[in-house]
Amino acid sequence: MGVEVILNQFLILAAVLFVMGVYGLLVRRNAVMVLLAVELMLAAVNINLVAMEAFWQTTEALGQILAVFIITVAAAEVGIGLAIILLIFRNRRSANVDELDLMRW
């Protein structure tokens, strides 16, 4: 079993995770769940990056660096996102995304 087989398994895992994320993003109505779905997609990307880095073995370890970078950004994003959702919930007693269309034309 070569490196490629292991790589394929990781990629499949990431793809599955990503699709689950997309599914969640599109169909869940609760904003928290949508946010979680986004996190899922980011996790899929991170898996991809790390797996690819293991495969290519770049000298700068670009994959790992990017993965760490994304984790940081994701953390910040979740922090702000949850804060926004919390405020919306306080104001409207609901966090359903399909009820939020204040930004339409």
Binding site: V22, L26, V97, D98, L100, D101, L102, M103, R104, W105
Partner: protein
């Protein structure tokens, strides 16, 4: 021979070999005459209202100064040595080797014009001081008169064609301001507009003509133009006729030649002193002056243009004279007469009679200004312009009456008044140059001239007074200028009697030419008695006919219809009656079909074309504006913004504000991209 003369004069002048004095400080500072009235204009506009005589004193003072100065120059020019001086100041180098200059010229022609403007101007200014007493805007009136005098002097003093244009349009502006002096009435402001506008149309010719000459010669200088013409320059040759005709079109506008004359009768809406100074004596002669100044061009290169000029002049001199027979307004009679006399001058200059045309300009300035001022005096007394409101005024206004008759006789060309000599010179020139038909038309014109002047004098000063109130003679400030002008109207002809050379004064011909070299035109050495007799006979016949048809007896007969049937007097009266009939029949023939036809052409054809062009322009303007501009071009502009806004309206529907819908689109787009990358590319 003629060519040799011209070549000599201009080439010799260029080499400084000409036998002429410079006139010393009188020439070197002659520019003061041009600047003086302009400064007077500024001073009167700014401070005139605070002055004791509302600015009139400044205007009159400056004119008196000009008269003294120009008289000195005139006297200097009379000696054996003529005066020839020129000074130009560069006002711009414009590239292409062309230079614009302002300056002044002192030579025979310009001295003559300086003097005429100053002499007639002073008389008119003094007269106007009395005439305008109690009228509105007297200050501005004198300011505009000064502006006119200044512009006219700039025009006639100009050594180049560009400065000529400046003066040319300056007098046009002054004319506009003064014709429209009583601008509260639309009629007057329309007359002012008509004058300015007709001139502006003609000025297109002048400006293009000047441009052609300037570009071709690389100079706007008369001197260079004359030299080029004398040398038959290859540069000027091909465009000479075009340029000459274009300049002539400009001259036609200013000098009211058929068919551009239409503005002049309307210009009588201005106060009478204005009509006297500008629309009779000086401004309208600017066209003649231009033709004389550029004479070498017409004499040498543009001979092909001359038949056209003579045709226009001849139609003007005869046709417009006829019109003077049918109008009731005394100022219009004089206006048509002016047009007709300008026709004489133009015909003469066009036929090659440089001296003849200018001589008539010279004499005409005095007697026509005199006539206008006399008419103004009458109008002042009876408060009407119409001769039907006058009559019998010779008892009430003796000074006006006498001077008016002197002026009329001079205009009619009665020996030995000034008009006789100048008209005779024109006839002689026409005959000498071989334009016999034109010459006989001019003789007929002399007849018509005498006829309408006799009519005007009869209706105004003879018979019974038909107006209202009690007319009085005008104050001395108005009658004094009348007598002052009557003197030159009588004696101005003496300076140019063929074959007679006055001691000290010399002759008019020698004034105009640079010393000892003739301008190349023909000047009779002795009077042609036959021709003079013909002209005089025509004039006397005209006077007689006018007297018979419109004199006091005719009027009386008309008033008391049965008077002719008184027994005893009948046979004598019958004969008179018969003559009256002949006269009346002739009058009727001339008045009714002929003059009316000319009048009709004037009012309907020429004015009609003017009006039609106006209406057409107006229609076209609204068509262009509404149709093309607002709908067409602006429509495209609006269409573009409308399209952008429509597209926006469609696309904004995507902006539902629902985050999941956006995400769905995002994913769909991503999938599309994936499909594209994997399967299509």
């Amino acid at each position: 021979m003629v060519n040799a003369g011209l070549t000599t004069i201009y080439l010799a002048a260029e080499e400084g070999a000409i036998h002429a004095g410079t006139g010393g400080i009188w020439s070197e500072w002659a520019g003061l005459m041009l600047i003086g009235p302009m400064l007077a204009f500024l001073v009167i506009v700014m401070f005139g209202k605070r002055m004791r005589y509302q600015g009139a004193e400044v205007a009159i003072g400056v004119m008196a100064f000009n008269l003294i100065w120009s008289t000195v120059l005139l006297v200097l020019n009379m000696g054996d040595e003529g005066v020839l001086y020129e000074r130009s100041i560069e006002i711009a180098r414009v590239g292409g080797g062309l230079v614009f200059e302002l300056g002044w010229m002192v030579d025979g022609l310009s001295i003559m014009m300086y003097w005429v403007v100053a002499a007639v101007g002073l008389a008119v200014f003094v007269y106007a001081h009395g005439y305008m007493k109690g009228e509105i805007r007297v200050t501005f009136f004198f300011a505009a008169l000064s502006l006119f005098a200044g512009s006219m002097l700039v025009l006639v003093g100009s050594p180049n064609l560009v400065q000529l244009i400046i003066g040319w349009e300056g007098v046009g502006l002054a004319s506009y301001l003064l014709i429209g002096h009583y601008w509260e009435d639309k009629e007057n402001s329309s007359a002012a507009m008509k004058a300015f506008y007709t001139n502006k149309v003609a000025d297109v010719g002048l400006i293009i003509g000047v441009i052609i000459i300037g570009v071709v010669l690389g100079s706007f200088h008369y001197w260079d133009l004359a030299a080029a013409a004398a040398e038959h320059s290859d540069l000027l040759g091909p465009v000479a006729v075009t340029a000459a005709i274009l300049l002539f079109i400009g001259a036609m506008g200013k000098s009211a030649q058929f068919p551009f004359h239409i503005w002049l009768p309307d210009a009588m809406a201005g106060p009478t002193p204005v009509s006297a100074l500008m629309h009779a004596a000086t401004m309208v002669t600017a066209g003649i002056y231009l033709m004389a100044r550029t004479f070498p061009l017409y004499q040498e290169l543009a001979t092909a243009a001359r038949p056209w000029m003579i045709a226009a002049g001849t139609i003007t001199l005869f046709g417009m004279g006829l019109l003077a027979l049918v109008v009731d307004d005394i100022k219009r009679v004089l206006a048509y007469s002016t047009v007709s006399q300008l026709g004489y001058m133009m015909t003469a200059v066009a036929a090659g009679g440089y001296t003849a045309g200018l001589f008539h300009l010279f004499t005409h300035a005095f007697f026509k200004a005199l006539l206008f001022l006399g008419a103004g005096s009458v109008i002042h007394a009876v408060h009407s312009n119409n001769m039907s409101d006058m009559g019998g005024l010779r008892h009430h206004m003796p000074h006006t009456y006498r001077t008016f008759v002197i002026g009329s006789l001079a205009l009619a060309g009665i020996f030995p008044l000034s008009g006789f000599w100048s008209k005779d010179e024109i006839l002689a020139t026409l005959g000498y140059e071989g334009y016999n038909l034109v010459m006989w038309i001019a003789v007929a014109g002399a007849f018509v001239t005498a006829f309408y002047m006799a009519r005007a004098v009869s209706l105004t000063f003879f018979g019974e007074y038909r107006g209202h109130g009690h007319p009085h003679e005008s104050p001395r400030i108005m009658t004094a200028p009348l007598w002052a002008l009557a003197v030159p109207a009588v004696i101005a002809g003496l300076v140019n009697i063929p074959g007679l050379k006055l001691p000290l004064i010399g002759s008019f011909t020698s004034w105009l030419s640079v010393r000892s070299v003739s301008m190349g035109d023909h000047h009779a050495e002795s009077i042609d008695l036959g021709l003079a007799a013909a002209g005089l006979a025509a004039a006397v016949a005209g006077l007689w006919l006018g007297w018979v048809a419109f004199g006091p007896k005719a009027a009386k007969r008309r008033a008391e219809r049965d008077w002719v049937e008184v027994p005893g007097l009948y046979p004598l009266l019958r004969q008179k009656y018969y003559l009256d009939h002949v006269a009346l029949g002739m009058v009727w023939t001339i008045r009714s079909p002929l003059a009316r036809a000319v009048n009709w052409v004037n009012d309907y054809v020429i004015d009609g074309v003017v009006n039609m062009v106006g209406a057409l322009c107006q229609g076209l303007a609204s068509l262009v504006y509404r149709g093309v501009d607002q709908r067409g071009i602006d429509g495209v502009v609006h269409g573009v913004s409308y399209g952008a806004s429509g597209m926006g309206g469609l696309l904004r529907r995507i902006q539902s504000g629902r985050v999941q819908q956006y995400a769905g689109l995002l994913v769909a787009g991503l999938l599309l991209l994936v499909v594209l990358v994997l399967f299509v590319l």
